[in-house]
């Protein structure tokens, strides 16, 4: 019925229009002699990704709603900054990056669904995204099935390696071992009290810490190990236990809202962090914003980046970030790692001379980024990063003061022997 009332599709005008449209690509090619050095799309994109002569599409997949929005906001901001800077510097293989942002909504099945949408519908050439291990585990099968490329920014527990993921944060051994060695050597610490939120990352990390303390540090012991459900807000009992056992070091891997409660109650209970050594691997400058600098001043954190790092790259990065996102924003370890994602992808694409996922995966090992705010990073054969590990001391103004950094890059070892 509708066919007869709409005869327009058969008109000669339409044929002319179609011919005109067919000629459009030819016209646009004539119009761009200036980009003569840009390699042809057919050569750099053999698998049908969303790459045109002037644009390439990538995905950003983080939670901007729900519980995890607190943590993931910084990553989104860093990725957008990196993309803007890359575009200003001429893009990737002469193509501007366009991004499509999806919201994982702090819900792991939603992450998987949106990952599939970005890969299957939008044909994204790369995806920057995920924050929690749970969300990464949810999207991993999707990326492997549809052959996508994920740049994952968070420090995490290790025990994973995929052709389709580049891990730009530190895996557990990189973050833990150097810190424990440091505290043992400079503070003479012999007894450790391990604390954590009750899920995979703190548990795996504390397992590695315990093995290292018991097997590799002379005469050291673990005097307590405890986990609290995510979201716990009451820590008075464990603080009393800490007072009773008097450990040399409190080793804390508490996350989220619990963090705030823990440090406030620790201070309220009269534990003075300028006298009691506390080492954490889960509190970045982002978290201090919520905890309050005055409540955590004196604590030590072990990670790879602090906003206060004194190097030329970081001195350019911090003002650029603040210019884009506001003077008051702070930059934590994960935010910096998220910033590395688009840059590493760009460098890898240019090294491979192609957007094809298989070629990027193969070209990744050995790619080095000299402009990293943390200094210098290089991708390892196992798709994690070589990076330095640093210890910082929290100050009342919410920043860390760099106390120690490893002399060399620390090798990523996602499947550490003797630590499992």
């Amino acid at each position: 019925m509708s066919d007869e009332t709409k005869p327009g599709l058969k008109s000669p005008l339409r044929r002319k229009l179609l011919m005109g449209m067919a000629a459009l690509p030819a016209v646009s090619m004539l119009g761009r002699p200036a980009f003569a050095d840009v390699p042809a799309t057919s050569a750099v994109n053999t698998t049908g990704l969303a790459v045109t002569d002037s644009e390439v599409t990538v995905g950003i997949l983080h939670s901007v709603t729900g519980t995890m929005a607190i943590s993931e906001t910084g990553s989104v901001e860093a990725e957008k900054l990196a993309i803007e800077q890359i575009n200003a510097a001429g893009g990737v293989l002469g193509r501007k990056i366009k991004f499509i942002q999806e919201d994982g909504a702090s819900d792991w099945p939603t992450f998987a669904e949106k990952a599939k949408k970005l890969l299957v519908n939008d044909k994204c050439a790369a995806v920057m995204g995920c924050w929690t291990s749970a969300s990464r585990k949810a999207v991993l099968p999707v990326f492997e099935q549809y052959n996508g490329m994920l740049y994952y920014p968070t420090f995490y527990e290790g025990l994973e390696q995929s052709k389709n993921v580049i891990y730009t944060g530190q895996e557990a051994t990189q973050q833990i071992i150097a810190g424990l060695d440091w505290v043992n050597k400079t503070k003479g610490a012999k007894s450790f009290y391990l604390l954590g939120s009750d899920y995979i990352w703190p548990r795996t990390s504390n397992k590695i810490a315990r093995k290292h303390i018991e097997n590799h540090l002379q005469g050291c012991k673990v005097v307590g190990e405890e986990y609290f459900p995510l979201g716990s807000t009451q820590f008075n009992s464990v603080i009393n236990k800490i007072k009773l056992t008097k450990p040399d070091v409190i080793y804390a891997i508490i996350v989220g809202g619990s963090n705030v409660a823990f440090y406030k109650q620790l201070k309220a209970a009269g534990i003075d962090l300028s006298k009691q050594t506390l080492l954490t691997i889960s509190v970045t400058e982002d978290e201090i914003d919520g905890i309050g600098g005055e409540n955590i001043a004196g604590a030590y954190a072990c990670m790879k980046y602090f906003q206060s790092l004194d190097n030329a790259n970081n001195k350019a990065f911090v003002p650029a970030f603040k210019k884009m996102w506001g003077e008051k924003t702070v930059i934590g370890d994960v935010t910096q790692a998220a910033y590395l994602g688009p840059w590493l992808w760009k460098l890898t694409v240019e090294k491979a001379g192609s957007f094809d996922i298989d070629k990027i995966a193969a070209a990744s090992p050995g790619v080095e980024f000299k402009g990293a705010p943390e200094g210098y990073v290089r991708i390892h054969e196992n798709h994690h990063l070589w990076s330095k590990t640093r210890v910082g001391r929290a100050k009342a103004d919410g920043q860390y003061e760099l106390i120690y950094e490893t002399a060399d890059l620390v090798e990523p070892d996602p499947f550490p022997k003797g630590y499992q």
């Binding site: 901007v64 709603t65 729900g66 519980t67 929005a69 607190i70 906001t73 910084g74 009750d198 190990e225 405890e226 986990y227 609290f228 459900p229 979201g231 716990s232 807000t233 009451q234 008075n236 009992s237 464990v238 603080i239 009393n240 236990k241 007072k243 009773l244 989220g256 809202g257 619990s258 963090n259 705030v260 409660a261 406030k264 109650q265 201070k267 309220a268 209970a269 009269g270 982002d286 978290e287 201090i288 914003d289 919520g290 905890i291 309050g292 600098g293 005055e294 409540n295």
Partner: protein, 308 residues
Amino acid sequence: MFGDYSISDLGAILAMQGFAGLILFSVYVLMALGLAIIFGQMGVINMAHGEFMILGAYVTWMTSNAVQHVAPWLFPGYFFIAMILAFIASGALGMLVEWALIRHLYKRPLDTLLATWGLSLILQQAYRSIFGAREVGVELPEWMMGSWQATDSIQIPINGMFVMALTMLITIAVAYVLFWSSWGKQVRAVVQNRVMAGAVGINTEKVDRYTFGLGCGIAGVAGSAFTMIGSTGPTAGQLYIVDTFLVVVFGGAASLFGTIASAFSISQTQSTLEFFLSGSMAKVITLLTIVAILMVRPQGLFALKVRK
């Protein structure tokens, strides 16, 4: 476990642990009071209780910022102003919500559960849009942090004592209002027999609105007080909601005294177990005990005697 420690050490820990339990008890009572009033007196299951608390926390944060800018000399005492403002803000929002949403659902109690859950999502996103997705740090006056050195080895957190005092004050005030004031008599009359209460000239709609407002206002004060011990972010209210319902249901929905008794037993079990076991195991055993008791006594610890 205790072999290595001296008697005085153990005594000090016992004392501090006793206080830890009392502080947890006060926290539980404070968070559950508002819900107990709304759930007990009106039968409304308010899933947005946590978000009303967080509104109080944000009001505290704004007051703290404002006082620091406008009148820094007031800062040591700003917390008291903040709590009053938190009560007014949460109470006003509560009355608005009652008028716009809840009063249409009194005959369908299960639907209030869905409606208030939706409300909690809306409020969370509103906080996120207004205050940002990141947590905010509420700065406290110096005298409220730190601890009171009772003896050489016993330290009692000052903010914990503050919460205890506040809880006592509010509980007494609520008990007075509900049991001795004429408005309280009206509330209880409406609970017992709505039709008859209306027939003798009580404006039941008004009573409902103020009861809901009072419950939400107390939630706001609780949220304000909890900035001392917990986090302030768009979804921080979710941290409290499960424990809150647990306390109210276990105590027997309609009984204020039941709420207090249940908060006491849950907090003591929890903090004692936490000391001897690990945090997660303590929670598991506490929950299992509550489930077992509720199986035997589904109406909770204390229930109103109603003619069936």
